[in-house]
Symmetry: C2
Subunit: 836 residues, 2 copies
């Protein structure tokens, strides 16, 4: 008895509230699905992580300095403190990473490149890896070794994005979309670089260059948005922490604006670029050499493998001994941390003694470069040489670390060296008429830093990164020229550092086509494809399946209509086929066979007069086939419509109509033993232990073999098999260039080569890689692909002969088709054909 | 009698020389093929073009100023000079472009976007267009109208690249490669922007954002290389011309470096960004409105169309009247050219009267902003409002012109306005503790310029362009924030200016997927595909072909094995099929038929006793079919192997074996009349005039119709037909998102939807466009696609039912195949099936 006059008196307020809550929730959830929310969260998170890591590193480094400073009375104790501290930190970092997540080791950019290429490396994007990477990185960089945080930050940002995605997917389904996740990972890479250097634009560009082959411009804003937000928060944190007065660049320079450089200085910048190109290639080579050396030396390796932490400790010991300030370190500004070195190198004053700034006053950190006995040039050269091999060595330590920053500092030092030389050579500047504009060695340092890091990573966007790092863009043309020259030299000598690591780690990645090599335009798919494709046909037997699986190692197999028509219908994964085969030959099937045989035996005993004993095996055969269908349908997730696949079996002449009802376990009281077993068999986990000796015993190995032979002769039933109904197809005349494009665009693993529906070959990543490495200079070897020379004279001939072939083949197909389909048709012209 | 002892005495030196020459030539040619040579040439050429155009524009503008200044005594004469000059220039530009190459009209970026998408717009890349664009652009900009050179320069650079490619292809074959040309065009777009603004990085990024959907990172260096070189040469020319002391930015600013802006100023920057977003959308809308208005007004249109030059002249008259300095122009700095306005707007001093710079000294061009009676704020507001609609109007004039620069200037003015307001509001700056940092309105102008131009073009890279244009990067964060906000607002309201033009011009381009809309992840190909595909089968008749061609308007048609199997073999272009059909029904064929009938008639007369008169028509039919084959083989480019296609015709019962020799014109003396005609018929150009009344007369229309009916009943012979043997295939479950990606990646026009080889649908650009425009907000309307809601609950259900369908269909295929192929096979299990 409810009075409907006041509908909003008692219950409704609560209803209203709950409706509101639900609506708000729905709204929030729908908002949470928006990309920009995700990107803001990602940016915020990464800015915090970056700031915290920086803060922790600064504290670590300060602690080392404090220890070192406090022990000034005793050099030995000082040395012990100077050396032990980094050794402990690095060893801890290596051990921690090793135990928690070995995937966190190294830069992470090669892995991200591979993941963005479409390869799934799942263990690289877990929470464990995140923790290991962040803590490992902090300790590694806190040790003061020449390591960078940029590469690992790309990885950390991607980890963040992946974890955030997982977390957000609790709210909405959109986060489960794979292509969206890839897009978000690409944005995350930009965030990683952006919040590491507070360089949003350079971050986006660097991450694109380093991780992508093809970039969707539609993703562009994502990267920019997230990286800008992240860089902003990162710098705002510094302002809030009273480190800075306002938002500025990380390594702010203050070169003069009115006359940044003279036109005549450009050759010097070009020299820096070319030298950096060689230097970058050398660095990559050296790095790879060290890794390979460590791997090859089996005795060392064994020793190091046993004590996994020994190698990091030894390397750290060596490096920190050499940089010990009272020791050799005094000749290479060993006292300075990486950041301090960079700041001093980008200083806009000139160090070398010259006309105007005769006695340069080394104040603050710049003192480290000034040695009473030794010229500043010697210090710089020593710094460059020592840091060069130290960085190459240090980046091979199994801790989370990058090589960008060390290389950047070395490049800056090299640029400074050239700049100081120029300043010493032209004390009054080069400019001939009017005002005196002295040379700014700091500008050279900027150019050198961009050029060397660009050469090592094979990127142009380091130019943008230096502008954002220094807050000045006045040297844009020298930087661009040097970076491009450095890239040109380095790319023709060595792969990039990341590609080198990809090769060392043997990650599944497709190499790039090199700088404008002609040959790639002449190679066609038909030159590189494998013509002898292993395939299965619709009407094949299990035996064919078995043979095919034994023969090849391809992940996917082509499914053809028949071996005569060769028409490609789709592709099936190897695992699917193996499942099919094991289902056909597995124990459950055999046990059923035994059960059926037993029933048949019983029946035969009951009606001995039955004459058809010689086709007993056939009968059993068919019976079994029938079983397959029923059993498979009971395995399939949707039982009702799967009755259709039964048709072909039901169509058979059915003397055996009755046994249909026997194996169906709806009547368990009838023949308890076998039906119970049947129940167990459906549940494959339990059958292994319980049925082992009950039915199997009465089948000898010979019998089993015979039974298997019979099973293998049956036609394959593809009903419950996942078929890719539209695998990627190429034409034989597709150029290598285009093939490479398509493979990298779509992240393909293999593609079938077809001609008017017929399968004529297959190209996989392997063939493509071979073809590219044959045509593109790798390690200085350039091989012309063997078949391309045939086509040099002109393409018209080949294509015409090809179209002929096609026409002929088409004709065959037509003939075949006619011979099959004409009987069904009743055209006027057919009558005389039949009369023939 | 030649003595072979001294082989190198007489002739050899010449040989040696020629060998050397040939080798040198070969070397040069091989070098010429290198990409970098091409890029350097392109950069050099474009830098020269840019510099010459700038120089000519400067002279034009100077001439106007000189004329205006010389007539200061008489205001009316001054007005006449001020107005006539631009009207004449614009009219000339419009007329010249109209006559020489109408394709040169407008910005050119939309067309380049379409061309890079893979669509061939050949007339846009001719020498004529180049000449028209360069001269038209110079005149248009020389008039002082608010037009830009950036868009046209993208087009000019592409023209340069295309022409250079053509020229270089004289040396080597590499330049004929299509994919390479596309790569070079992409680089050329970067060069265009780069040499226009001396902004290599911004140029590359802007061109990527504006023209590409997917960018190959492998092309990145090309753009950078060429754009850097071009920008370098462009600026070096300025140095050589003594315009500059050294290489600097085009619009160099000199804001303070130590404290560029306060954190608390950021909201103001954000406001600029958001307002610019609305402004940008309004600009695009206004521009489109004007174009549509002009088009719709039929009376105006008729009038304007008659005198094509009237519209430009009228618009110019209006704009220049309003900017006349002694008139209304005094309130909106009408005296200044675009460049001068920009330079004054980016000035680092504050205009508004305030504490420190109480009486700001307006010197040089800045004077124009200072009006004795009117506040500088009013001047700025008037400038913004007037220039806004003027620019929107001016860019609709049919001359080569862009809208980037005018919008950039308006944005700078808007930024300046906000900056001056802030400076007036906080005379001592916002910074609370310590030093006084006054607000820099010039920084606001930079932010505004980047934001508004970013909003209009939907690009983020305008941020980079302003850094390169001003030579300062200190405002990076405000600029990035404003640009991103402006983009967010503008992109949600309107398409970009270039996309808007693409729509107005109805260029074949695929719209982008919007900013993170969920719906696109839910739509599948099966929702949007056309299921009722028009196809042809291998064994179809010409009648089917005829019907199919009449029914649909698709450019390509699917070729299936048969209508039962629906197996997709390839696709054939419509034109090919039309050619086939017209060959079958054309006059030559009919004339041959008549000739054959005549011969048959003759033969019948010679042997009257022949009984088979009732199957005469059939005989003729077959005879004709035989003729077809021979004739086609004589038409085909490769006559020898095409004898194979004759087989099906030869297989027919051949009572008519003898006539084979009759129509072959090797024995002309036998029956001169018809064989001569035969000779003519083979040459289709001549037959129209000469044979019109000779043979055709004796065939009535009914007879022709009957003959055509007979012809249509024949099977199609696809032998000489070009078949695309591997058209692109999708699966029904492919998401809209992925489909869009693939379409834009590969530049597809349509894709077939197949399932295990069977054709089940087709998706073309049209469907895709519809689907996207249904799901993505365009003009504020958001429509949920009708079918996607079914799948919201989860994807597992659909996919499983799908796989079932597949299984069923596969089964059918298997059955069909078995029923056809089993008779050939002799397996053990087949025996009982046959006994059935």
């Amino acid at each position: 008895m409810r009075w409907s006059g006041y509908p909003y008196t008692q219950a409704p307020p609560r209803d209203f509230l709950s409706v509101c809550t639900v609506r708000c929730q729905k709204f929030l959830i729908s908002r949470v699905g928006e990309d920009w929310i995700f990107l803001i969260l990602l940016g915020l998170l990464m800015a915090l992580v970056s700031w915290v890591v920086d803060f922790a590193i600064a504290i670590c480094l300060q602690a080392q300095k404090w220890m070192y400073g406090g022990l000034e009375s005793n050099v030995f104790l000082q040395y012990l403190a100077w050396v032990t501290y980094p050794v402990v930190l690095i060893t801890f970092s290596a051990g921690f990473t090793q135990i928690l997540a070995p995937q966190a080791v190294g830069s992470g950019i090669p892995e991200m490149k591979t993941i963005l290429r479409g390869v799934v490396l799942k263990e690289y994007l877990t929470f464990k890896t995140f923790v290991a990477k962040v803590i490992g990185l902090t300790c590694a960089l806190g040790s003061g070794m020449p390591l960078g945080k940029e590469g690992p930050f790309v990885h950390i940002a991607s980890l963040c994005a992946a974890l955030l995605s997982k977390f957000m997917s609790l709210f909405g389904g959109i986060y489960e979309n794979e292509s969206r996740n890839i897009e978000m990972l690409a944005a995350a890479c930009a965030v990683g670089v952006g919040c590491c250097f507070a360089a949003p634009i350079g971050g986006v560009l660097f991450s694109i260059e380093v991780t992508s082959t093809f970039f969707a411009v539609r993703n562009y804003w994502r990267g920019f948005f997230a990286a800008t937000f992240s860089a902003f928060i990162f710098r705002v944190l510094a302002v809030w922490n009273r480190d800075e007065e306002t938002i500025t660049a990380l390594f702010k320079t203050s070169f003069r604006l009115d006359f940044p450089f003279d036109l005549q200085e450009l050759p010097a910048f070009a020299v820096i670029g070319i030298a950096s190109g060689f230097g970058g290639a050398l660095f990559v080579y050296l790095n790879r050499l060290i890794v390979q050396f460590i791997r090859k030396q089996k005795t060392i390796n064994k020793f190091l493998m046993k004590k996994r932490l020994l190698y990091p400790a030894l390397v750290t010991l060596l490096v920190s001994t050499l940089t010990f300030p009272p020791g050799f370190g005094q000749f290479m500004a060993g006292k300075l941390t990486q950041k301090e070195s960079l700041v001093t190198l980008l200083d806009n004053r000139t160090w070398a003694k010259q006309g105007i700034a005769e006695g340069f006053d080394y104040i603050g950190n710049s003192q480290a470069w000034n040695h009473p006995q030794v010229n500043v040039f010697v210090t710089l050269v020593l710094f460059i040489v020592m840091k060069f091999w130290m960085s190459a060595l240090a980046t091979t330590i199994p801790v989370p670390c990058g090589a960008f920053m060390p290389v950047f500092v070395i490049g800056a030092a090299f640029g400074r060296l050239v700049g100081e030389s120029m300043a010493a050579w032209f004390p009054d500047g080069i400019h001939s008429d009017g005002t005196i504009y002295p040379i700014v060695p700091g500008g050279y340092a900027v150019v050198g830093a961009a050029a060397l890091s660009g050469a090592v990573t094979h990127t142009v966007s380091t130019a943008v990164i230096v502008f954002e790092l220094t807050g000045q863009i006045s040297h844009i043309l020298p930087v661009m020229i040097a970076v491009i020259l450095a890239n040109a030299v380095a790319q023709s000598l060595q792969p990039s550092l990341y590609d080198s690591i990809i090769r060392i780690k043997k990650l599944p990645y497709l190499p790039e086509l090199g700088w404008g090599h002609h040959e790639k335009y002449n190679i066609r798919v038909e030159d590189i494809m494998i013509r002898d494709v292993t395939y299965i046909t619709l009407n094949c037997c299990y035996r064919d399946l078995h043979d095919v699986l034994l023969a090849g190692h391809l992940k996917t197999l082509a499914l053809l209509e028949s071996s005569e028509s060769m028409i490609l219908l789709g592709s099936i994964e190897r695992a699917q086929l193996q499942a099919l085969l094991s289902l056909q030959l597995g124990r459950p099937r055999r046990l059923e066979y035994l059960r059926d045989r037993a029933t048949a035996e019983k029946k035969r005993l009951s009606m001995v007069s039955h004459p058809g004993s010689e086709d007993g095996s056939q009968r059993v055969n068919q019976e079994v086939r029938f079983q397959i269908s029923t059993e498979e349908s009971s395995f399939s997730p949707t039982p009702t419509p799967s009755m259709k696949p039964l048709k072909p079996a039901l169509k058979r002449p059915s003397v055996l109509d009755r046994p249909t009802e026997i194996p169906i376990p709806t009547s368990p009281q009838d023949h308890s033993g076998s039906s119970l077993k049947n129940l167990f068999c459906v549940n494959p986990e339990t059958e292994d232990l319980e049925d082992d000796f009950d039915v199997d015993d009465d089948m000898t190995i010979r019998e089993i073999a015979e039974w298997e032979e019979n099973q293998l002769d049956e036609h394959v039933n593809f009903d419950n098999c996942k078929i890719d109904p539209a695998p990627f197809q190429l034409v034989e005349r597709t150029s290598l260039h285009k093939t490479h494009t398509i493979f990298s665009l779509l992240g393909l693993d293999h593609a079938y080569v077809t001609s008017i529906g017929r399968l004529i070959g297959v190209v996989s990543l392997k063939e493509l890689r071979k073809a590219i490495e044959g045509s593109v200079a790798v390690k200085g070897v350039k091989v012309r692909p063997p078949l391309s020379s045939f086509r040099d004279s002109g393409t018209s001939g080949t294509s015409s002969s090809n179209s002929e072939n096609e026409a002929t083949e088409l004709h065959k197909l037509w003939d075949r088709h006619k011979s099959m389909s004409l009987p069904r048709e009743h055209l006027a012209s057919d009558s005389d054909e039949k009369s023939q």
